[in-house]
Symmetry: C2
Subunit: 193 residues, 2 copies
């Protein structure tokens, strides 16, 4: 596989999704994020909402874990991970693209020529951003962020055994709060070319 793929891991609220879409548009290549969830939902028969939620919970912590146990064969999470693995490899084989989240950096590590990126920002920037993008919730934005960060780190750790947010795992990490979304997009595009 010789296609160049940009994988974007990101802290919730850091703008990683927006950056991925903008980079893809600028480079004229597709960006996969929700598409992966749709594809997995279609393949497994689970609802897109279920697939989305399960992708943020490490096995054993998701509600369904109460009903699934490895003693009786693969759990729902294991089935989803296996499909995710196959969907991501198939997308990378189709041609150059941007893939946001879903441990694509790990899945493609020996299978595609990747530029692996991690986007982060401080709590204040992200809290303001999620309220603006997703509206208010009963839970404070800071609590929502802490909760999501913890889940993503646990999920990532469980399936990849890599430390979440550790610079050595990525070719490039960017603080979108300090640098701004536009300059993150420019930096990624410049390093991709």
């Amino acid at each position: 596989m010789k296609n160049r793929v940009i994988t974007i891991s990101r802290e919730f609220g850091s703008g990683g999704h927006t950056i991925g879409k903008m980079v893809a548009e600028k480079l004229g290549i597709p960006c996969y994020d929700a598409e992966i969830i749709q594809e997995m939902a279609k393949e497994t028969g689970f609802s897109p909402d279920y697939v989305k939620e399960a992708g943020e919970y490490a096995p054993g912590s998701f509600l369904s874990a109460a009903f699934s146990n490895r003693m009786f064969g693969p759990t729902n999470e294991d089935i989803l991970w296996e499909r995710q693995y196959r969907v991501i490899i198939a997308l990378a084989e189709k041609g150059p693209c941007v893939i946001v989240g879903r441990c694509a950096d790990y899945i493609l590590r020996d299978k595609a020529d990747c530029l692996t990126v991690f986007i982060h920002a401080d709590m204040k920037f992200r809290a303001e951003r999620i309220v603006r993008e997703y509206g208010e919730r009963e839970q404070s934005p800071e609590d929502r962020l802490r909760d999501k960060d913890k889940r993503r780190a646990a999920y990532h750790r469980f399936y990849t055994d890599m430390k979440w947010g550790y610079a050595q795992n990525y070719h490039l990490t960017l603080d979108s709060g300090v640098l701004g979304i536009d300059r993150c997009v420019e930096t990624i595009c410049a390093l991709y070319r």
Copy 2:
């Protein structure tokens, strides 16, 4: 203090020092590294070699620790840290510059407008590089790297309480092994402007 400063933290052998010098040259601003050691040596009366070595050992692990104990006042390391602190702030006050190592990111965090960078690379790239740059030693290059990494992380942790190499601590981190020295220089210069 309004001067823009680029701080470069780096894994041993990753080319962080070379990148710092090249960035400074390209931007037409000074780069401080060995200069800080000379300045500290002059101010404290310690030899430059002693200052250099002490900057990589967390207190208690350096040989001199046997002869210095906080019960009897500040240790040699504490004296050096305090001078390092003052020298770095004075350099940042002089004007825009690049500062390599010496926890400058931490020292200047509320005192200057900084672009904080961390440079890393995998073991293979760094091992080849240190043999090329500094020659063979009795100890294998991999052991030398592990040793230096451990010391820098411990030193950084002791004085700053920040996790070494953790993406969230930096505005930008770059894998010089994958991206190459020249593209690291271009990226830093582009984000500084």
